[in-house]
């Protein structure tokens, strides 16, 4: 098992460097250099050169990349052009709200999706099956932002049941009930798509597994149907789902960008949109790196979980 873990971590290393390089060179391709923003009319050409030298911009790009990488690994991502705060501080404030939202969405999506997928697979062509496949098609075809607007229109504007945005009603109070009320609409808007995805995957995985010999064997032994379904079939059907949870994380993060923006959720997505509008590259690079690391970490956890669930691949 430890050999397997080491192998998975070694595989991550080229992926990590590939991504850092891509992020760095992308932001270097941008028209205009960071110096342009700092030039004042009183500065002479020599002053600009000194500034360029101090910022290391007169060196070849690969040298800049290595230095940037070194600073980044120390946790120094530079300062935001927009707020002048250290990037790590600006992002740090935003991590928890995004984590709360995305983890809730992930949990809701998986629970609803797997449940409906199992129901649909147990009774093919029943009303459950129709409902589940209908929901999965709408979920995958309907962009989160349109669902969000419709939900706000119905439940906040027309019915006035739920708040239109934000994380808490008052800046000072931190009540759980209040937070939950603010989370209902963003969570539904984002979870529709992921639930739809898991419904489809669970349904086809279950249908495949139910044809296997060991399921017939379990039935032949006279086991009760729930035991057959949930102990014998579901555990094996869950394997591909675990992989697809890992693969869904990048999409989830992307969805959070749009949904946070609509609901004024104070997370990294809102910061990302703001930074892109201001061309605040240190923050954009910081967020991208943050998300990359989070995605790699989740993939690792999912790989390990997979190994726990499926003893065959440990060797």
């Amino acid at each position: 098992m430890s050999k397997y873990i080491i192998k998975r971590i070694l595989v991550m290393i080229p992926v990590f460097f590939g991504m850092t390089a891509l992020v760095f060179f992308l932001s270097n391709m941008t028209p205009g250099s960071p110096v342009d923003a700092m030039i004042t009319p009183e500065m002479s050409v020599e002053d600009v050169e000194v500034l360029r030298h101090r910022m290391g911009l007169d060196q070849p790009v690969y040298v800049q990349y290595v230095k940037w990488l070194g600073r980044m690994l120390e946790g120094n991502l530079g300062n935001s052009y927009r707020t002048s705060n250290p990037v790590i501080k600006d992002i740090g404030e935003r991590v928890v709200p995004t984590l709360i939202l995305t983890l809730t969405v992930l949990a809701v999506g998986v629970v609803v999706g797997v449940t409906l997928g199992v129901l649909a697979a147990c009774r093919p062509y029943s009303i459950w099956d129709t409902l589940a496949s209908g929901l999965s098609f709408v979920g995958s075809g309907m962009p989160g932002f349109f669902i969000a607007l419709l939900l706000v229109y119905c439940f906040s504007v027309k019915l006035g049941w739920l708040p239109t945005g934000g994380m808490y009603s008052n800046a000072g109070t931190r009540a759980f009930g209040d937070l939950a009320r603010h989370m209902v609409l963003p969570t539904i808007s984002m979870a529709m798509a992921s639930a739809g995805n898991y419904i489809r995957q669970t349904r086809s995985a279950m249908l495949e597994v139910m044809g296997e010999e060991y399921v017939k064997m379990a039935r032949a032994k006279g086991m009760r149907e729930p035991v057959v379904l949930y102990v014998h079939a579901l555990r094996n059907a869950l394997l591909p789902i675990v992989t697809s949870i890992g693969m869904s994380v990048p999409g989830l993060v992307g969805g959070a960008v749009i949904i946070e923006q609509i609901f004024g959720w104070p997370g990294m997505g809102t910061l990302m949109v703001l930074s892109v509008t201001y061309r605040d590259y240190p923050v954009i690079m910081g967020i991208t790196m943050y998300i990359t690391i989070a995605v790699l970490f989740t993939n690792l956890v999912m790989d390990l979980l997979y190994a726990v669930l499926d003893p065959r691949i440990r060797n």
Partner: protein
């Protein structure tokens, strides 16, 4: 005619997939009206009609007008041209990159494969929307840069698919026969392996078109995609970010959203039908 037996069976299976057939008919009608309606009717998505701001749907303006007095119906039709062409062109760019790479990675059993598949891993671990946002900012927000960005980021699906298909196709007897009669690697790949690995590519293509339309509308909704005054469904829905439009003027954003959702769902159903049609093992 002998080689068309598979095609004839596939068409038969597709026609029997009723949802996919209905979706295909809707899509064809939609594409025709997007292409032809501007030739028949006098549609103008850009002119602000003076004194006609925020008009509700009525006789003169079928779907009403927006906040600066432009005809919403014309904007939906013209927006469709933009959204659909971004979807199709980006999916084609991705296929042109992804299919050859998958073919090479599947065919050569050496370091080349490792490099290609590792690059695929890198691209797939990226949160697509975040990278799209950065790239569109670098290139400048427009329909053309969206096509390029979505196209150059979206090829990994094709590569994985073709790769795994090629792995099995290259074991077939007819490829071995070609090799033993002295066919070059290129001939083997292009003439014998590729045609037999292509079927699932069409399925991926249709899902890619739908995915690209969604990505375009998402970016345009954030104001980072196609810029006004050029209409797309995404930047029309963006109007609803103003609370008064969201509350009192639903005709400005709901029709655009409904057309967008209907289009994407129909394309997905067609993709589903194609999958069933091209893979005889799946029962409809």
């Amino acid at each position: 005619m002998k080689k068309n037996v598979f095609l004839r069976d596939a068409v038969g299976r597709f026609v029997r997939h009723r949802v996919a057939m209905v979706s295909l008919i809707i899509l064809v009608l939609e594409i025709l009206s997007i292409l032809l309606l501007p030739l028949i009717l006098d549609l103008d998505p850009f002119t602000s009609y003076p004194g006609q701001f925020n008009q509700a749907p009525g006789n003169r303006f079928l779907f009403g007008t927006d906040a600066v007095g432009r005809d919403i119906f014309s904007r939906i039709i013209y927006g469709g041209r933009v959204s659909l062409s971004v979807g199709f062109i980006a999916a084609s760019i991705s296929a042109l990159i992804g299919v050859p790479l998958g073919l090479i990675a599947g065919f050569y059993d050496n370091g080349v494969r490792g490099v290609i598949m590792r690059i695929v891993d890198i691209f797939m671990s990226f949160p697509a929307l975040v990278i799209q946002m950065v790239l569109v900012t670098v290139l400048g927000a427009s329909a053309r840069s969206l096509m390029l960005v979505l196209g150059f980021l979206g090829w990994t699906g094709y590569t994985r698919l073709v790769y795994s298909k090629v792995l099995s196709v290259k074991q077939e007897v007819y490829v071995e026969a070609a090799r033993s009669t002295g066919a070059t690697n290129l001939t083997q790949m292009v003439r014998y392996i590729l045609p037999n690995a292509m079927a699932p590519v069409f399925v991926t293509f249709s899902f890619a078109v739908a995915g690209n339309i969604l990505a375009e509308s998402g970016l345009s909704f954030l104001g980072l995609g196609v810029q006004l005054p050029t209409p797309t469904w995404g930047n029309m829905i963006r109007d609803a970010q103003t609370l008064s439009t969201l509350m009192y003027r639903p005709w400005m954003w709901i029709p655009a959203g409904v057309v967008l959702v209907a289009t994407v769902v129909c394309i997905n159903f067609v993709g589903d039908g194609l999958r069933a049609a091209l893979d005889p093992k799946i029962k409809i």
